[in-house]
């Protein structure tokens, strides 16, 4: 079953197509890789799926029924979609713990005004922070973390949202091997829980290891799709986009 489909999706910047009539379908419960050279439209696609950018034309279908032509960022959460950013974006002036707690905060103004976070919230926060190894740093300001820790905190924040679809934009970039291992385990665990992961990644080894299916993009268009072991064997793709 397709959890997200794009139909003739178009996004232009100053007349130049960043996404050009893209139609792809993401299977539920799988790890789907989006690969392609820099500027091929991978991040733009994620930005469209997460409502950060407005769709110029075409539509996104969520769960086979919900057709969306204008998606507002704060509604993305209610569609069960969450994301991380290529350049880590945290709530810098808040503690590690608050970065997680704010995600599981009551959205109703009156209850949020008069309620504190209770044990239930702290349990979720502890669970995700333990998973990325940041529980001991829970009282530190996010701004004071190292690059790798920041990246892990962003992933923990996404996990705390208990979403159905996780859009990870280069989650492994710049991480030490042990941190890469943590992220890799998280991605596989999400799959085991029947969650959907969309992974933008340049490391072909990781793509082969983790992804069930991949889409290869170039200049905003779909170049190839299929299982990584077959697509990545194709000579023209290796030569054109991975240089080896």
């Amino acid at each position: 079953m397709k959890i997200i489909e794009t139909k003739n999706l178009v996004k232009r910047f100053n007349g130049v197509y960043a996404i050009d009539r893209l139609s792809i379908g993401i299977e539920k419960g799988q790890i789907t890789g989006i690969v392609g050279p820099n500027g091929s439209g991978k991040t733009t696609l994620i930005n469209l799926l997460s409502g950060v950018l407005k769709i110029d034309s075409g539509e996104i279908v969520v769960d086979g029924t919900e057709k969306i032509t204008r998606i507002l960022p704060h509604q993305v959460f209610f569609y069960g979609i969450t994301r991380t950013f290529q350049n880590v974006r945290l709530f810098e002036q808040m503690t590690v713990l608050d970065n997680i707690l704010v995600v599981i905060t009551e959205r109703n103004i009156f209850s949020s005004l008069f309620e504190k976070h209770i044990e239930y919230h702290h349990k979720i926060a502890e669970e995700v922070l333990q998973k990325v190894g940041l529980w001991k740093k829970k009282n530190q300001l996010a701004a004071n973390l190292s690059y790798g820790q920041r990246k892990l905190l962003e992933i923990a924040r996404a996990l705390a949202m208990k979403a159905e679809v996780y859009l990870f934009d280069e989650p492994f970039a710049g991480l030490f091997p042990e941190m890469r291992k943590i992220v890799s385990v998280i991605v596989q665990e999400l799959k085991q829980k029947n969650k959907t992961v969309i992974l933008i990644e340049h490391d072909i080894g990781l793509i082969r290891e983790l992804c069930d299916y991949i889409f290869v993009m170039n200049e905003g268009r779909l170049l190839a799709e299929g299982k990584p072991e077959s697509v990545l064997e194709r000579k023209e793709i290796i030569e054109a986009y991975f240089g080896n």
Binding site: P73, R89, F91
Partner: protein
């Protein structure tokens, strides 16, 4: 009676008023990131609303104050919803928002002047003759005591609101990164609307207190806002404690500055302090 205790008391009272303006200005600025010139005029709206409710309609002064605060909150909320929000949706730059707020300020001031005339008015005629207290040789009025108490309570309220409630975390998230706040499901425009209500209501209340202490006039907001902004910048924009520190520093520098010279120099001294900080410590006392 020595002049020193009185100077200290005056400084503290001025600091308390600036604290209230700095806190509410900071709250709105940190979430919207634009310089809302119309923020000060909310003080005049609060003051004139109480004047209207108590003197024209003859309502009980306490009810008039409550209504005045709520009304000011709604004016702030309305200005955001019908003007600033529409501009933000159209991706207006902060400069456009600043100019729009200048327009809002001018319009609101003009409306107040049309409805109530530009003449200076005082609210204190309606309450019993003010009690006067002597503290360590300095004189302080009942209203001024209320100002001090209000500043302490509202500051404590802000700290609890921002750091102890779930809503406060949401607000801090928006001031850190509004786009990410949206991604995690926060309806930022709605929250900013509430922030305008709260910020404007606090400034409206400040205007009411000033109305009892000194008096009100339609243009009272701008100079008050500028003092609040100086306090914010001196203390560190976006930092609650910085705002309070800046407010009291400004109160003391202003009042001690005119110890030996004419009181007309007060504003010049305040802006000199601002310039000194802008040159030597532009991010304020608290922000590194």
């Amino acid at each position: 009676m020595g002049i020193l205790p009185q100077l200290i008391l005056n400084s503290i009272i001025a600091g308390a008023i600036y604290t209230l303006v700095a806190l509410s200005f900071n709250l709105i600025y940190s979430t919207t990131k634009f310089f809302n010139l119309a923020h000060g005029v909310m003080a005049a709206i609060g003051g004139y609303a109480v004047f209207y409710f108590s003197k024209t309609l003859g309502l009980d002064i306490h009810i008039a104050i409550v209504l005045g605060v709520i009304l000011t909150g709604f004016v702030g909320f309305g200005v955001d919803k019908f003007i600033y929000l529409q501009l933000r949706k159209r991706k207006a730059s902060n400069m456009v928002l600043l100019v729009a707020s200048l327009g809002v300020m001018t319009a609101l001031q003009a409306i107040i002047a049309i409805l109530f005339s530009s003449r200076f008015k005082t609210l204190s005629g309606n309450i019993d003759t003010q009690k006067i207290f002597t503290i360590l040789g300095g004189v302080i009025t009942q209203t001024q005591l209320v100002i001090l108490l209000s500043a302490v309570l509202i500051m404590a309220g802000f700290v609890i609101f921002l750091y102890k409630t779930q809503f406060g975390k949401t607000v801090r998230a928006i001031s850190d990164d509004e786009e990410v706040a949206r991604i995690i499901g926060i309806n930022t425009n709605k929250i900013i609307g509430y922030i305008f209500f709260i910020g404007s209501a606090v400034t409206g209340f400040t205007g009411i207190l000033i109305g009892f202490d000194v008096g009100i006039e339609p243009t009272m907001g701008l100079s008050l806002l500028l003092k609040g902004v100086i306090a914010s910048i001196v203390g560190g924009v976006g930092n609650i404690y910085g705002g309070v520190l800046g407010a009291f520093l400004l109160g003391f520098v202003e009042n001690f500055g005119i110890w030996k010279i004419s009181g007309e120099w007060k504003d010049a001294i305040a802006f000199a302090l601002l310039i000194v900080f802008l040159i030597f410590r532009p991010r304020g006392i608290m922000n590194k």
